[in-house]
């Protein structure tokens, strides 16, 4: 907290620390020249201040520029750990002002949406001791379950698990106790999103469905609150964020699935439930992530749609840039991958016979869409996650492939680990588990946690060794990291599926899982210079890429 005077011609900066993932609220208020000796009517607003918050990379993470009041409030989730600056600037002329400020930091370990957060980082700051024998409990055994979300749904300070399947949404305590089931739903096929949609202090569960409906439920009780019907089926899990800086939450999602050029992205006011805007960026399938990619203090929506990738102004829905990438079908992840203070986007494209495209993982500049680097692959990549897995100070992108191979790449180096697997299930179902990143053995290094179609939950070190392999059987997909037993440490919440002859022994009561293998080393290790790291379209590329080393 602080109290100080800002002279009529000066600005002021307040410094404070925050840890990545913390929810931070910074509040600024100022006096208005009370003159009690004369008349309270002299207590008039003489000055106006704006508040901008910057992280240690000088990236603006939030701002508040309201008028006609004597306060500003900025809520943000700390993108990085370090010192933050609250820059208080005067708007127009004014008197010397007595100013007070305060801030609060609440650490959230929620895995409250697809791939952890709206940037789809897949990275949790939780630490665990999941390096030896692990215990497990099965909290739900049903059909057609989607991937779980983990969040404190009832404000009791403990995390719960929310999972949907075709006709129900369910919530569970971390010990497996059932909390509620909502059955007024059909065709829910992806991870629910858990956020306080209407700013009432309580969380909501937002569920997208293939029957074109978006459901909003009270997260504590499972009670129906409202729904919205889109034009077409909804595939991508929604993002809930304050896109227009009004301090209230909006819901952003896309519809569309099959070949049609009129797929939409929607923004709904979470409080009034009104549709703010609906745009048609084109393309077939729409995945979204969100971040302030251009440092203007406002959110942008990054979408992929099989034709390419684009950025929208989240406040208006207007197109900022669009780049063509045939068969861009993997959900994007947004992170500062080269530690330059700006954000990049990682996403994958597929080669499909008779359709084109390439099997590649791309990294592009998030502010402009310009290509930074790419890496050619032997098969289809899945969704990327981002974290400094190898501890070199640069974030890596980490992803699984259809053949269940794991890749961990930054701009200069990387490794891959070939697992004997096959994600082709039948004629139209392809399984590529997403990747979670966290320090799950408390060794101050990040590990990579990923499922496989061969029934394994694998844990890799950041340098590419397979540290632990747990044989869960069946098909293991999309691990989430949470603290569901409220011990302050990480647990893994994961879907374990069965198709046809696949089987899993981990049903029913809880038990103990033993690591199956002794640690191994990546089968490839460091990937050296690859000639396919090139610069398409003859565009210039940062000089660091000229070395040609990934």
């Amino acid at each position: 907290m602080g109290r100080f005077t800002i002279p009529s011609t000066a600005e002021h900066t307040v410094y404070f620390d925050a840890v990545e993932g913390e929810k931070v609220r910074f509040v600024l208020c100022w006096c208005s020249h009370t003159n009690w000796a004369v008349d309270e009517s002299y207590d008039v607003l003489e000055s106006n201040f704006d508040l901008k918050i910057y992280d240690s990379h000088n990236t603006r993470v939030g701002d508040s520029k309201s008028k006609d009041n004597s306060y500003e409030v900025v809520d943000f989730t700390a993108p990085i750990t370090g010192e933050y600056e609250a820059r208080i600037s005067r708007v127009g002329r004014g008197e010397d002002e007595e100013v007070g400020c305060a801030w609060s930091r609440i650490f959230s370990h929620d895995w409250s949406m697809m791939n952890h957060d709206s940037q789809r980082s897949g990275r949790s700051a939780l630490r665990g001791d999941l390096s030896g024998t692990m215990h497990y409990i099965t909290i739900l055994d049903s059909d057609k379950i989607t991937y779980p979300a983990v969040a404190d749904i009832d404000g009791d300070g403990k995390q719960e698990i929310v999972v949907s399947n075709e006709d129900a949404v369910r919530a569970f305590e971390g010990n497996g106790d059932h909390i509620w089931t909502y059955t007024g739903i059909t065709d829910a096929d992806n991870t629910p999103t858990i956020r306080d949609v209407d700013n009432d202090g309580g969380q909501e569960v937002v569920v997208e469905t293939y029957n074109s409906k978006l459901y909003i439920l009270d997260a504590a009780s499972g009670d129906y609150e409202w729904e919205y019907t889109a034009d077409d089926i909804i595939v991508s899990p929604p993002i809930v964020s304050d896109i227009d800086g009004d301090g209230k939450q909006e819901i952003v999602f896309g519809d569309g699935y099959y070949f049609s050029e009129d797929r939409h992205i929607y923004a709904l006011n979470g409080d009034t439930r009104d549709e703010l805007w609906k745009v048609t960026p084109g393309g077939y399938n729409i995945w979204q992530a969100m971040a302030d990619v251009d440092g203007d203090g406002k959110q942008e929506i990054i979408g992929v749609n099989a034709n390419g990738i684009f950025a929208l102004n989240a406040e208006s829905g207007s197109m900022l840039w669009q780049k063509e990438y045939i068969t861009a079908v993997c959900p994007p992840a947004i992170a500062d991958l080269d530690d330059d203070g700006g954000l990049e986007i990682a996403f994958g494209t597929w080669y499909i016979e008779g359709f084109g495209g390439t099997n590649r993982s791309y990294v592009i500049d998030a502010a402009t869409g310009d290509l930074e680097w790419y890496y050619d692959l032997d098969d289809w990549p899945g969704q990327s996650s981002a974290g400094d897995a190898d501890g070199d100070g640069l974030l890596e992108i980490v992803f699984n492939t259809l053949n269940q191979d794991i890749y961990c790449l930054d701009r200069y180096e990387g490794w891959s680990y070939h697992r004997d697997g096959n994600g082709v299930m039948g004629d139209d179902c392809y399984i590529i588990s997403a990747v979670a990143i966290a320090d799950i053995d408390n060794d101050n290094n990040l590990e990579i946690i990923v499922g496989s179609t061969e029934g394994y939950l694998d844990i890799f070190s950041g340098s590419g060794s397979l540290e632990k392999r747990y044989n869960l059987g069946g098909i293991v997909e999309d691990p989430a990291i949470g603290d569901v037993d409220d011990d302050g440490k990480a647990e893994i919440v994961v879907k374990n599926g069965i198709i046809g002859s696949q089987s899993s022994s981990l049903r029913g009561d809880g038990g103990v899982i033993h690591a199956e293998t002794s640690p191994q080393k990546a089968t490839i290790g460091v990937i050296h210079a690859k000639t396919e790291i090139s610069e398409p379209d003859n565009r210039s590329s940062p000089s660091k890429t000229s070395g040609g080393v990934i």
Partner: protein, 192 residues
């Protein structure tokens, strides 16, 4: 890879659960820590307090699991019989096999023998493999704050072995009643 893939199907990947016959959601967790406190881990400063002292009671809390750590604040509570002396909140993590000291100030205890109990994680906030080893007791003798010349004489007799030693007479806390304790008592009497 299926070469005859229908282009319309290419986007059904990775999020399509409808082909599954069965699914489960599993929670995988690591081992729990085991916090212990032992009688030998409880200490008093001063060792032989008087009723005029502010006594610091310290308890060493040990995590005896080598594969699990704590990562959540927990309370260590100190009791004089059934009366709560105070709590110490342990905020930092205790590493596998690690330990931490918890302490409270005990203000001007009544003279006599006290049974001090230490309860680790008294609010039960840390899941542990063994919750039954979180309590330990230790007796401490608090002597009167007033010392008379006769006490010095008795201490001298204890030092000589002519009467049994009373721990309360070990005023310099060296573990034995000696002539030095008697001398200290005399000096104390002189200042009173």
């Amino acid at each position: 890879m299926n070469a005859s893939i229908d282009a319309a199907d290419i986007f059904t990947t990775t999020v399509h659960a409808s082909d599954f016959d069965s699914n489960a959601v599993l929670i995988l967790s690591g081992p729990d820590p085991d916090l212990v406190v032992a009688t030998s881990g409880i200490s008093f400063d001063p060792v032989s307090p008087t009723a005029a002292d502010i006594v610091t009671i310290t308890a060493t809390v040990h995590n005896q699991r080598d594969d699990s750590f704590t990562n959540k604040p927990f309370k260590v509570s100190f009791y004089d019989e059934e009366y709560l002396i105070g709590d110490d909140l342990i905020v930092g993590s205790i590493s596998p096999g690690g330990e931490v000291n918890a302490s409270v100030e005990w203000y001007y205890p009544c003279y006599g023998t006290h049974n001090i109990s230490v309860i680790v994680d008294s609010r039960n906030s840390i899941p542990e493999t063994d919750e039954a080893n979180n309590k330990a007791d230790k007796e401490v003798v608090v002597v009167s704050a007033t010392i008379y010349t006769v006490d010095a004489l008795l201490a001298l007799q204890m030092a000589a072995g002519s009467i049994p030693a009373d721990p309360a007479a070990d005023v310099n806390s060296d573990g034995a009643v000696t002539s030095l304790d008697a001398l200290l008592m005399l000096q104390y009497c002189k200042t009173q």
